[in-house]
């Protein structure tokens, strides 16, 4: 080794470089360690190259020039793939914000005797200086190391590379294949040890849906989100939506909004709280969609925007059903206050559903969201996943001040656990349950407000009927 210097300097305050990848910086508590090395490992197709590329691309777009060194894929393919995500690498290259170094080696190249990485380092030296680059991605280490015969040589060269990166104080992201089978000596193990941040990528198949997962294995000198986080490759890049500090605080400053029914407003002690999460639970045919639609109609009449997310039926079917109950939503649709998002739960994975929702929230910016029905979420990826899914959904809405009306279809037993919705009660601010019973050939329907935080709500069962003018609650 030419220069001896301590491999790890004292921590001080760790500076971070945001990746600007949607959601990833929340998991990394701010970003990658500045001027240090991050190792991202994963199998083929796990998204490791894309994390590296997006990091360099977003940086370049934001005035931080960077180098992307590829040992695996040819440069032209990388440019083409990036273009499908709307990333114009070539123009960044022309502007001197990004340099794509195609360093693939012809596998037929003959080898005779020892050699080292100085050629690469001198090119990196020159390009880093030329661009004023502060970030480098090397994809992938195994491609680079293939030519170094034995383990000792490989480790020596990785150490040379690591020292170069540290000396130049660039923020680097190195990718490598997932560790080989147990028992095989692993040449990258020692790099795991050197790197300040180690991230591993994986794929998990649950309920026949394959989900990409990211896990931070270590982050020297920093806290980090410790879970396995699902992520998605979308047509705009990577997308993470971690559950961030699900705060359970209760903000009493929100104002009241009408449920659309004067009588229900009274029972609730003054209507719904805007920006809160309300659960409406009941058996099939109890009138849940009717209650929700009554709210939707009145909100739209007030000029508020509502996103109705229907996992149960098509928009046409739903509109038709409501018409028969005297609730006409067509004017709301016409005035662009109402948007109906319809998707079968089974049609895509959880991350795709969330991404679609997220994108619609960003574009449409609704005041309220109706989810019909949360019970269908279990069909997206199983029951445990449904909890995670709903928590993320409700959190995303609350962060934006969006009222969430969750509709939950429960079985005939109507047990309390089920009524209050997959253990979510801590984030639900109000629960309205609908019940019915058959007495003397007549269906009797009852509404109960089980909970309404911050309200003096009624504790009684209230009889109601479904008429051709909507839900009529008796006095």
């Amino acid at each position: 080794m030419s220069k001896e210097q301590p491999l790890s300097e004292d921590m001080g305050a760790l500076q971070k470089v945001p990746t600007q990848i949607q959601g990833l910086d929340d998991i990394l508590y701010g970003g990658l360690p500045a001027g240090r090395t991050t190792l991202v490992s994963g199998g083929p197709g796990s998204g490791k190259s894309l994390i590296g590329l997006e990091f360099v691309y977003r940086g370049a777009m934001d005035g931080h020039p960077g180098l992307f060194v590829t040992f695996e894929e040819n440069g032209e393919n990388i440019r083409e793939n990036a273009a499908t995500l709307g990333w114009d690498l070539a123009s960044l290259e022309r502007r001197g914000s990004l340099f794509l170094l195609d360093a693939r080696v012809d596998p037929e190249t003959a080898v005779s005797g020892q050699f080292n990485l100085k050629g690469l380092l001198s090119v990196l030296d020159a390009k880093t200086r030329e661009l004023g680059a502060d970030r480098i991605v090397i994809d992938a280490l195994d491609g680079l190391m293939r030519f170094f015969g034995d383990l000792e040589q490989q480790q020596n060269q990785m150490l040379v590379l690591y020292r170069w990166l540290m000396e130049h104080r660039v923020t680097s992201l190195l990718t490598s294949k997932t560790q080989p089978a147990p028992g095989v000596q692993n040449q990258f193990e020692f790099l795991d040890f050197l790197a300040d941040c180690v991230v591993s990528l994986d794929q998990e198949i649950k309920a026949r849906v394959s989900t990409k997962m990211l896990r931070v294995v270590k982050y020297r000198g920093s806290a980090y989100g410790g879970n396995a986080y699902p992520f998605l490759v979308t047509d705009e890049g990577l997308y993470f939506q971690p559950i961030t500090n699900v705060a359970m605080h209760f903000d009493s400053t929100t104002h009241r909004i009408s449920s659309g029914s004067e009588r229900l407003d009274e029972i609730l002690g003054g209507g719904f709280h805007s920006g809160r999460c309300i659960l409406v639970a009941g058996e099939t045919g109890a009138g849940k969609t009717c209650l929700a639609s009554t709210f939707v109609r009145s909100a739209c009449e007030r000029g508020e925007k509502v996103l109705y997310w229907n996992l149960e039926e098509s928009p046409e079917g739903m509109l038709e059903g409501m018409r028969s109950l005297g609730i006409h939503l067509d004017p709301a649709l016409g005035s662009a206050c109402l948007e109906i998002l319809s998707a079968m739960p089974e049609s895509m994975g959880m991350e795709e559903h969330l991404f679609l929702l997220h994108r619609t929230l960003e574009r449409f910016r609704p005041d309220h969201l109706v989810l019909d029905a949360m019970s269908a979420c279990g069909r997206i990826a199983g029951k445990e996943a449904a909890f995670d899914f709903l928590l993320r959904l409700v959190t995303a809405c609350r962060d934006r001040g969006i009222t969430t009306l969750l509709i939950n279809q429960v079985g005939a037993s109507g047990d309390r656990q089920e009524l209050s919705g997959i253990g979510l009660s801590s984030i639900i601010d109000a629960i309205v349950t609908l019940h019915y019973q058959v007495v003397d050939d007549e269906i009797q329907r009852f509404l109960l407000v089980m909970k309404a935080r911050g309200s003096h709500h009624s504790n009684r069962f209230h009889r109601y009927s479904l008429t051709d003018r909507g839900m009529a609650i008796e006095r």
């Binding site: 195609d102 005797g113 080292n116 001198s122 090119v123 020159a126």
Partner: protein, 101 residues
């Protein structure tokens, strides 16, 4: 044999040897190359030594990322060999050389 460098043609073989400064690998590669040329290509070879620490542009252009590295530029076919060229048989084979007879 791939045609090039046959004794009768006596065509000059042009090499570029990429090294990184004056490290021991650089000197070994230089010495090994000279020795091989004296045996196989007496008076019909040219060697240009390129120091990548000085000429990173050329290294980038020729896609030379490890050193030492030997490029045979002409006559065709070209060849690339990594390393100090210490294993002579491999070099001779990769360059398609024959001892002058």
């Amino acid at each position: 044999m791939e045609g090039a460098g046959t004794p009768s043609s006596r065509e000059t073989v042009v090499f570029q040897l990429f090294v990184a400064g004056d490290e021991s690998h650089s000197r070994s590669a230089m010495d090994n190359l000279k020795a091989i040329c004296e045996v196989y290509l007496p008076e019909c070879h040219e060697i240009e030594v390129v120091d990548v620490l000085e000429c990173s542009d050329l290294a980038l252009e020729k896609k030379i990322f490890v050193t030492p590295a030997l490029l045979k530029l002409s006559p065709a076919p070209g060849a690339t060999i990594y390393g100090t060229l210490s294993e002579k048989e491999k070099v001779v084979e990769a360059l398609g050389l024959q001892r002058e007879g």
